[in-house]
Every structure is written in C-alpha cells, then in structure tokens.
C-alpha cells in the first residue's frame, strides 16, 4: 500500500526514529519499500545513511564526494529493491552498492582524488616527522600517513581495511559485502596491513 506524501515526509522526523527502533521490522520495511512506500524507505535510509557515509568518506577522503556516493547508493538501492534477496544481509547489500559506486567514482576521478589525497594527508606533517611521530606518537600525523597509504591500496584492499578498521565490521561480513570467500578477505586484509605499514615506514624514513 502506498502511503500519502505527508506520511512519507514523516520518515525524516521522529516517526522514523520510532520505527527504526524496532529491529525485527526491517524485512517488513523492506517489503513496503518494494511496494514503493517512501516512508518505509526513508526509515531504512535512516538506519544506514551514516554508516554508508563513513565508509564512503573513508574510501574517497572527500566529504562532497562521499555525500554524492551516499545519495547514489540509496537511489540505486531504491531502484534495485526487487533484486534484493533475503538470504543476504541488508547491510552487506547496501555496503556492496556503496563499494561499487566508490570504485566507479574513484576511477572516474582518479587523478583528482590522488592529488587531493596527497595534499590533504601531508598537511600539518613537518620535516621532523620521524622523531616527532616516535617520540610524541602524534596520532594526527599517523592518521595522515595511514590515510595516505590507504589511498595507494587496491580497491578491494582499501575496502577491506576501511570496513574492518574504520567501520568495525568482521571479516565474515566483509566477505559478504565483497561477494568473495573468507580466505580471500583474510588475504586482502593481511596485504592491506602489510602495505600500509610498509608505506608508512617508507614515508617516515624518507622524511628523516
């Protein structure tokens, strides 16, 4: 049943919060959203929008780009609701949509993103980085170094790292997002860690 426009608008207010607080109603919301119920879809959006933003922001390191990806993720989700199958987690499905859009976005704006990433990450890092980093454990500088190396990882390694260490997901869940086996995700995770560590060490050595 299609709700009125006023009800659909209610999805953005307190009503959405009440419905969202009922976890078992997710499938029901999904079914209603499939029947083009804007209110139900708004409630679902409210549950995942911040997570998707954090993931996209971690991936592309640009607030506007991240917002664009979140928008496209939910628009695509609404278009493809009929394709969603219950045997998969809804969260994994949404993250997969976002992941694909991040990759598309990254490939479209590869050069620009790389330049922005480099500029953003090196801001505030002075020439005495090694001593400063080791002596004071300047987390902000370390964060910048990690982000810099994150931008140099492959798409899948980056996704695994962001979902694991910034979104707090388990490797099994990440396997569901990427549609690969757990062993593959473990390998990607290990390589991502090693590459970031190696890159950070190299950058620190170069700075010294």
């Amino acid at each position: 049943m299609r709700r009125s426009g006023r009800e659909a608008e209610g999805a953005t207010t307190g009503e959405a919060v009440i419905v969202a607080a009922t976890p078992e109603s997710e499938l029901e919301l999904l079914e209603r959203a499939k029947r083009r119920d804007h209110f139900a879809f708004g409630v679902l959006m409210g549950r995942y929008q911040k997570k998707v933003f954090a993931f996209a922001y971690g991936f592309c390191q640009n607030r506007e780009d991240a917002m664009e990806i979140v928008q496209e993720t939910f628009l695509r989700m609404y278009e493809k609701l009929d394709l969603y199958r219950r045997e998969y987690s809804l969260q994994s499905w949404i993250y997969r949509l976002a992941h694909n859009l991040c990759i598309d976005h990254y490939r479209r704006h590869k050069r620009r993103l790389r330049m922005v990433s480099n500029v953003d990450c090196w801001d505030g890092i002075d020439a005495s980085l090694p001593e400063s980093a080791e002596a004071e454990e300047d987390q902000s500088q370390m964060q910048a170094l990690v982000q810099l190396q994150l931008g140099r990882l492959s798409d899948k390694q980056k996704t695994v790292f962001v979902l694991k260490h910034q979104q707090g997901m388990k490797l099994e869940e990440i396997a569901g997002v990427l549609g690969v086996s757990l062993g593959t995700v473990k390998t990607l995770h290990h390589r991502a860690l090693q590459n970031i560590k190696k890159g950070v060490r190299r950058d620190i050595d170069r700075g010294g």
């Binding site: 608008e9 999805a11 953005t12 804007h38 959006m45 929008q49 928008q71 987390q139 490797l171």
Partner: protein, 268 residues
C-alpha cells in the same frame, strides 16, 4: 633486522584482533619477554589506532550532516523520477508501437507497389497458360504437316526413280541383294506413310492424300516382291508409274506445297 622468530603476520593479526584466544594468550606471554616484538606490536597498535581514530572522525563528520534534509532530497528525487516514469510510460508505449506500425505501413506500401508495377500477366487461353493469336495453332500444324508430307514425297521420288532404273530391257534380272534393298526401302516408305497418315487425314491435304495412297500401293507391292520373276512384277509397277505420271505429280505437288505454305494443297 628482526631476529625474533615470531612472524610479522601474527603481530599484525593480533593488533587487528584476528587471533584466536589461545593464540592471543601465547603471544602475550611472548611479548612480556621479547622487547623486539613488543616494539613491533606497539607500532602496529599505533598504526591501527590511528586508522580507527580516522574512522571515528569520519563518523563524527557524519554527525554534522543534515540527514533529515538529505532524506527529504532523496525522497523528492525518487518522487520526481517516478512521476517522470509515469508520464513517460504512455509515451514509451507509443514508442513501442511506433516501429511496429512503421513496419506494417512499409509492408503495405511494398505490397501496393509490387502489385501495381509488376509486369502484366499473359492472358490465359483455354487453360493452357498461353494465349496465341487466333489461327496460330492451325498455321503451325499445317506447316508441320506440310513439311512431313514434303519429306515423304521427296523420298518417294528417289525410291521410285531407283525402281524405274531396275530391270531395264538390256539388263539381266535384278540380283537378290538389289530386290532386298528395294523391298527394305519400300518398307521404310510404308512406315513413313503411316506416320503421315494423320496429317493426310486433314481436310487441307485431302487431295495430296490420293497421290500418297497410290505411291503407298506401289511400295506395298515392292515390299512383297516374289522370290521369282521379280523383274516381271517390277516392270509392271514401272508401267503403272509411267502411266499415272506419278513422278510428275509428285514434283507438282512438292512445288505446290513448297510455294503455297499458307494454302492447302491443290488437287493434283
């Protein structure tokens, strides 16, 4: 250069929280006694802590966004899309029918053009599929009959001429081989006459038929020559030929058939 045998992988996984409980406890025991691995572990923890804090910052950035406005804008975009699709759907149906209608129209035009400009079929005559001008069939049949009769007359003339030169008064009696040759030729002529009979039965050739019958009688006699006194019989036939002026009649008839193809044979 690391000297401890504990692998980097285990330290990284421990920092990432991916070791099992027994493995984690064993590693903690080792770290208490190994400053090298402790230092390495500290580096991993610092690195992953920095990554986690970056994640926290990303989430904090999410808190500063007007998500109500964001949802409204998304719902509004969805509404506009659906409205546009609803508007477009009838147009799409028209678009779907357009190629079908165009194909049907093109087929109709093609059919009209084909039937309008195709060569006019030949009118049928008597169900044979062809319509010839009146009298064509008869003319053709007459021509064929005339040719057949002319051929028969021409050969008859040669056979009769040979026959007239046989058993001359000064010559001895014809040999058996010569009479057999005449008999064979006569039989051939009898067969040919049978073939021509169909034509000779036609009204235009009724007068040629009487001459051909006379010739046919002569050939039937030659074909049945007795073993003895052959020259006597042949002389009798020669006499008859001369008396009836058969060779002259044949030539006249040939001339008549040759020079008046459109007209029936005249009475000889």
């Amino acid at each position: 250069m690391r000297t401890c045998k504990i692998g980097k992988k285990k330290l990284a996984l421990a920092a990432a929280g991916e070791l099992s409980l027994p493995e984690s406890e064993a590693l903690q025991d080792h770290l208490r006694s190994c400053p090298e691995c402790r230092g390495e572990m500290a580096q991993w923890q610092r690195l992953l802590r920095a990554a986690a804090r970056r994640g926290d910052k990303n989430r904090q950035a999410a808190e500063s966004i007007d998500w109500d406005g964001f949802q409204q804008s998304i719902i509004e975009r969805i509404r506009r899309r659906e409205a546009a699709e609803n508007d477009i759907q009838p147009f799409r149906r028209r678009l779907l029918w357009r190629p079908v209608a165009a194909t049907l129209a093109a087929a109709a035009v093609f059919v009209v053009i084909f039937f309008h400009f195709r060569p006019a079929p030949l009118p049928r005559a008597g169900g044979s599929g062809f319509d010839l001008p009146p009298g064509t069939i008869e003319t053709m049949e007459n021509s064929m009959a005339r040719q057949e009769i002319l051929g028969y007359l021409s050969q008859s003339q040669m056979v009769l001429t040979d026959l007239l030169e046989t058993c001359d008064e000064g010559a001895p009696d014809a040999g058996a081989w010569e009479t057999r040759l005449h008999a064979r030729k006569a039989r051939d002529m009898l067969l040919k006459k049978k073939y021509c009979n169909d034509y000779l039965e036609q009204l235009p050739f009724s007068k040629a038929k009487s001459l051909c019958d006379q010739i046919d009688f002569l050939f039937s006699e030659v074909a049945q020559l007795p073993p003895t006194e052959r020259c006597a019989v042949i002389n009798h036939l020669q006499e008859m030929t001369r008396r009836e002026n058969l060779l002259l009649k044949i030539r006249l008839l040939e001339k008549d058939l040759s020079y008046s193809p459109a007209t029936p044979a005249m009475e000889v």
